[in-house]
């Protein structure tokens, strides 16, 4: 009875749209899980026996070492930058985020280009000092090499989240520990590490999800993982059902990581800023200490941004005349098109769900919010498998419809851009959602309530009040989603229509064809756009009153 009476409050355009979006997101993922248990796959026995053990071994090694190293580097840098003053700290504070601007697959082939026989290091050694080196010390196309790339280019996830936590919330605890006579090392290990556990775990789980999502690095480095195996069984062996089974196995791994994160983080939320935040006052380092801190930051910055960036610029000048052509313009146009449309749809969907879950504190709205975030944890290759299965089924249903409207009865939807963009939306909805949800959190419900008391219904209130007030988060959500789509590789590779290339797929193809120099122009455009976006974000976040 109560439910019936509440219906006019619940049954509105927002809840209906949210429900539709949630179903759309869930469908591909559920398809995978259902097919895992129902479909028979011809090669599955073979895969289980000969390939799966290797995949699990490689994936575990990548996860464990990358996880450990990103925590070490990310946390130590975060602490150094928040608690101490040393030369050029203000610069390093945001420059240490820049490695995120270089997608790992671009970094991977750039470093390989630097290190290999014809690369700048070996040619200099040979020509100038006549030194010939043993190739095995310079071969980075190995599992440790992949760990190096992931570590150096993904540690900023740990760094940014931990730094935000430390500089805003640790002040009183750290200062108390100092007053109680603890030396800096004791403060770090006894206070800083334990209290920032939540932030570190949050950051490192993002790193691990990125590692599991990666296709470019592991493919280029020849380290077989689930992503490469899914590609191979699907396109090499033409066995979609085995690809589905591999995807489901990978999904189980992802869910175990997410559950582990929940357990490790415990009840400590890292984003909880209820108490008045007082920034930590940094201590000025002197003499040798200052130089050690400076050098550490510098080395990481050089490795993570400057060296690959300079190398890419160098290659770009070598090949610019060859690459810059009308065809290349269409690459840029394609990239901008899918990124723009994808990001716009993400923002619209995110606003709808965020507004719904803010208006109704119910199980339905809470699970809608959960589902939205789900896509971000599921690797691109898995989403690709799920979504094309769904789209092919839809096309089959629509087969007769195509005939009646006089179209050539083909796989229409599953070969269109529409499929690719839907996949982007599912994968990156969380990014837009998080930004918009925190925007709604900040303004609270009072303006909406005030507007409703003045006679505006939910929808009018939304356009006249809510939307205007979350303009900032809306724009930042859009930009973040935009650069994620611009960088995206595995989804784009699998789901793009025939002959449709973007900057990222072209760069990856060139690199795969041993045309590393030719890949540089596309790469540098991606890096520069991402770099600018990161810089803007850092400036905005720093200025924003907490």
């Amino acid at each position: 009875m109560k439910l019936l009476r509440k219906l006019p409050g619940y049954l509105n355009i927002w809840s209906v749209l949210s429900l539709i979006i949630v179903i759309l997101i869930l469908m591909p993922n559920l398809t995978i899980l259902v097919n895992f248990f129902t479909q028979k796959a011809e090669n599955w026995g073979h895969i289980q026996e000969f390939i799966l053990p290797d995949l699990i071994k490689n994936t575990s090694l990548l996860i464990v070492f990358t996880g450990f190293l990103t925590v070490m580097i990310g946390t130590s840098l975060a602490w150094l930058v928040s608690a101490y003053d040393f030369p050029m700290k203000a610069f390093f504070k945001w420059a240490l985020i820049l490695p995120l601007a270089i997608p790992p697959y671009i970094a991977g082939y750039t470093y390989n280009g630097i290190m290999n026989y014809t690369g700048v290091i070996q040619t200099t050694l040979r020509n100038r000092w006549d030194v010939t080196v043993d190739q095995k010390y310079f071969d980075i196309l190995t599992l440790p090499g992949a760990v190096f790339i992931f570590t150096i280019f993904l540690f900023p996830y740990v760094y940014t989240i931990t730094r935000a936590f430390l500089s805003n919330q640790s002040a009183s605890l750290v200062e108390n520990a100092r007053l109680l006579g603890r030396n800096p090392w004791e403060v770090f290990f006894k206070i800083v590490l334990p209290i920032s556990r939540g932030a570190i775990v949050g950051g490192v789980s993002l790193v691990l999800l990125e590692v599991l999502n990666d296709y470019g690095v592991v493919q280029f480095f020849g380290v077989p993982t689930f992503s490469t195996a899914i590609f191979q069984t699907w396109f090499g062996m033409n066995d979609l059902n085995s690809a589905i089974k591999l995807s489901a196995t990978l999904m189980f791994i992802v869910f175990s990581i997410l559950i582990l994160e929940k357990i490790l983080r415990g009840r400590k939320k890292y984003s909880n800023t209820t108490a008045k935040a007082r920034p930590l006052t940094p201590i000025r380092l002197q003499g040798i200490q200052a130089w050690v801190a400076f050098s550490y930051c510098l080395v990481i910055f050089l490795l993570g941004f400057m060296i690959p960036f300079v190398q890419l610029v160098d290659w770009m000048f070598l090949t610019f005349h060859k690459i810059a052509s009308p065809e290349f313009k269409s690459l840029i146009w394609n990239s901008l098109l899918v990124s723009f449309v994808g990001a716009a749809m993400i923002v619209v969907f995110a606003v709808i769900i965020a507004n719904f879950s803010r208006m109704h504190q119910s199980i339905l709205s809470k699970s809608a919010a959960r589902v939205t975030i789900l896509g971000y944890s599921i690797p691109g290759a898995v989403i690709a498998v799920g979504i094309s299965t769904v789209f092919i089924q839809i096309d089959n249903y629509l087969f007769s419809f195509y005939e009646t409207i006089g179209m050539e009865p083909t796989l229409f939807l599953s070969t269109s851009l529409f499929m690719l963009i839907s996949a982007y939306v599912i994968r990156f909805l969380a990014i837009g959602y998080n930004s918009i949800e925190s925007g709604f959190d900040k303004i609270g419900n009072k303006y909406t309530e005030a507007s409703r008391m003045l006679g505006m219904n939910l929808t009018k209130t939304f356009f006249k009040v809510d939307l205007r007030m979350i303009k900032g988060p809306l724009i930042s959500g859009f930009i973040l989603a935009f650069i994620e789509i611009l960088k995206e590789l595995p989804l784009t590779l699998i789901l793009r229509p025939f002959n449709f290339d973007t900057l990222s797929t072209k760069a990856f193809q060139y690199a795969g064809d041993e045309q590393i120099h030719e890949a540089s122009l596309a790469s540098i455009i991606i890096v520069i756009i991402c770099g600018i976006a990161i810089y803007i974000f850092h400036q905005v976040l720093e200025k924003e009153p907490k």
């Binding site: 009875m1 009476r5 509440k6 409050g9 504190q361 009072k446 008391m453 003045l454 006679g455 219904n457």
Partner: protein
């Protein structure tokens, strides 16, 4: 009776105990009611139930003969024609004072809108502030604008949630009497919630004390006022 609240029960989603337990109240047209209680006594929740921002578990609310909520009916907040002044005013920061006041004037012609804005600004003595933005006003001014915005659509009932809690002590006394004058001028039925006994005594015709989610005792302060005029030595009685 203008407003009838019967056996109202309410609990927030995550709790077992009722925040509001069998709340009953009747109010006559034009009365100024004060709901007095400590924090957590459920007084603000009563306001939120009255204006439809929360849905009660049980009980009914009738305003001017029209059922707002009972076991099978629920009128959405925007359809109730109730004005509310929020604790922190909730003036839309992206609109000017005039735009804020206009916001609730649906179905008015352009000229009528302008005229009504002028009227309420005159009522609160702030005609020269129409073009300002909320952040360019002092706390007391913001509060008066919030009042004007709530009054502009001519609601049948005005609710005020802790209207003085964000003001300095000396400002509070001044605003208090202003507020009373404005409300009296419009003759609107009003309910305001406060934790401050002095506020209640200064403004209300009648004070309701709330404890543990129920109206504990209520008493007409008017009769006491009349007594007081005859016998200046009589103290106002403690309601608790």
């Amino acid at each position: 009776m203008f407003i009838q609240i019967k056996d109202l029960c309410f609990c927030y989603g995550n709790t077992k105990n009722n925040t509001i337990q069998n709340f009953n109240l009747e109010i006559e047209q034009g009365e100024i009611i004060s709901i007095l209680g400590e924090s957590g006594s459920g007084k603000s929740t009563v306001l939120r139930l009255l204006c439809g921002l929360e849905t009660p578990r049980q009980g009914s609310i009738t305003i001017n003969g029209e059922v707002m909520t009972d076991h099978r009916r629920f009128v959405l907040p925007e359809k109730r024609g109730i004005g509310m002044v929020f604790q922190d005013y909730a003036l839309f920061p992206h609109m000017t004072v005039a735009e804020n006041i206009q916001f609730g004037l649906k179905g008015y012609s352009r000229r009528a809108k302008k005229q009504r804005v002028q009227e309420v600004l005159e009522l609160i003595n702030m005609t020269s502030y129409a073009k300002r933005y909320p952040h360019e006003l002092s706390g007391g001014q913001q509060q008066r604008i919030a009042l004007a915005r709530a009054l502009a659509p001519k609601p049948s009932l005005l609710l005020l949630d802790e209207p003085f809690s964000n003001l300095d002590a000396d400002l509070q006394i001044k605003i208090r009497s202003e507020l009373k004058d404005i409300i009296k001028k419009t003759g609107i039925t009003s309910i305001f919630v406060t934790h401050d006994r002095e506020d209640s005594k200064a403004i209300a015709d009648r004070i309701i004390t709330m404890r543990d989610g129920a109206a504990y005792d209520w008493e007409s302060i008017c009769t006491i006022r009349e007594e007081q005029q005859k016998r200046p030595d009589l103290e106002l009685v403690d309601m608790k």
